[in-house]
């Protein structure tokens, strides 16, 4: 065992599966590193119980509701989610006995529907061509009309970035003394805001906080006007040093690269984030670049992205990949 790589013999001992969330491995990706002095580290959030980083967020959202006494008997938890948050919430709500309803665009991969049903969630579909904007709008409208719904609202709830400020960031800081760049996906903004804020507090301007965001295909930009746009309330752009979009095609190509070159079986957002992490690494002479592998690849299997040439992938632009 090389002296500079530490291995814990066991990932820890926990009271139940919800308590086992977090404490994910940091894995060096030597083959993707452009220079010997630059080390690229993947934080494998796919190692969480339901397979995604959202386990952290979902636990924080539910614990936040519980601590405020916001869930009463007879109420249903309602949340707009294209998959991972819903799946995480479904697992945790199932463990804790809370009914859960998720609002999701109808054009996500079928595995997401299966996973939600498996954990006992009810699903309401929003129009696929409105992407996640449509799911958010529909869920907000449902919550306003019916007071039996309690919406944690990952897009605007400080418990979301809080999960990363207190969890993801702390784990990274425990493993690395120097971090030149932290790269994560920009969706709700929770990972970047929470982890970024903690890293900035500890390391100052020496660490660059870099966002990779999806460039949604034209078929899902179903907006009537720009005022139908949506900016998650928790996002503070001043915390970011770079914000770079990644096309669906590039995200898928890089998801395959992670698998083929590093043996990492990850979802599409992870490929996108990896592409930006390597780009940032190429601009450096030395240092550590940490990026998030948000989820594993199981729920994308039916799409063929791991086995077919990217140009043969169906509905490349019409799918909400991440």
């Amino acid at each position: 065992m090389p002296a500079d790589l530490r291995n814990r013999p066991c990932g820890g001992r926990y009271g139940d599966i919800v308590q086992a969330i977090g404490n994910t491995p940091l894995v060096e990706l030597k083959r993707l590193s452009p220079h010997p002095g630059v080390r690229i580290w993947a934080k494998l959030e796919s190692a969480n119980p339901t397979g995604s980083i959202k386990d952290r967020v979902a636990r924080a959202l539910i614990e936040d509701l519980e601590s405020r006494g916001a869930i009463a008997p007879g109420q249903t938890i309602l949340e707009p989610t294209s998959g991972n948050t819903g799946i995480s919430l479904a697992m945790i709500c199932s463990r804790k006995g809370y009914p859960l309803k998720v609002v999701m665009p109808d054009n996500v991969t079928p595995e997401r529907t299966q996973l939600l049903q498996m954990y006992g969630a009810q699903i309401v579909y929003s129009p696929g061509d409105q992407g996640s904007n449509g799911a958010v709008a529909m869920a907000l409208e449902m919550a306003e009309r019916d007071s039996s719904y309690v919406m944690p609202y990952q897009y605007g709830n400080p418990a979301n970035p809080g999960a990363h400020y207190n969890g993801t960031a702390v784990e990274i800081l425990e493993e690395l003394d120097e971090i030149s760049a932290f790269v994560a996906g920009l969706g709700t903004g929770g990972t970047l805001m929470g982890t970024g804020r903690r890293l900035r507090e500890e390391l100052g301007d020496a660490v660059k906080i870099v966002a990779a965001e999806p460039m949604q295909g034209e078929p899902v930009q179903g907006l009537r006007s720009l005022d139908d746009g949506f900016i998650p309330p928790i996002i503070d752009l001043s915390l970011l040093d770079r914000k770079i979009f990644v096309t669906n095609r590039d995200a898928i190509v890089w998801t395959r690269k992670l698998l083929d070159e590093e043996g990492i079986f990850a979802g599409v957002s992870s490929g996108a984030i990896a592409s930006i992490a390597v780009r940032i690494a190429k601009e450096m002479d030395e240092g550590n670049v940490v990026f998030i592998v948000c989820d594993d690849g199981w729920k994308y299997l039916s799409s063929g992205i791991y086995t077919r040439p990217v140009d043969e992938i169906e509905n490349l632009d019409a799918t909400v990949w991440w």
């Binding site: 996640s132 920009l186 930009q221 009537r224 006007s225 720009l226 139908d228």
Partner: protein
């Protein structure tokens, strides 16, 4: 001249085009050149105080200009500006 990629939601304001050429040394100059040529875009791209509409994201090639120098971000001849609506993003 820089190339501006127009999102579907704005195409009717530029005669249906997916790409438009416009001149200017900064992002602000290029976008104002666009709105001079296509006045219907002005109220969609800019807020009343001349800043970018908060639901509009503008990218210099693939980087959000708000995280660079905003409307003062320099634009070169071979650069592309990509205008995209603010979207919640998928898969969360």
């Amino acid at each position: 001249m820089a190339t501006i990629k127009i999102p579907p939601v704005l195409r009717s304001s530029v005669g249906g085009e997916k790409e438009v050429q416009a001149s200017g040394g900064t992002v602000g100059d290029v976008l104002r050149s666009l709105s001079d040529s296509h006045p219907a875009t002005e109220s969609q791209l800019f807020s009343g105080d001349g800043q970018l509409n908060r639901y509009v994201n503008v990218y210099l090639n693939d980087e959000d200009v708000r995280v660079l120098d905003g409307l003062d971000t320099s634009v070169g001849e071979s650069d592309t500006l990509v205008i995209l609506p603010a979207m919640a993003g998928g898969g969360r």
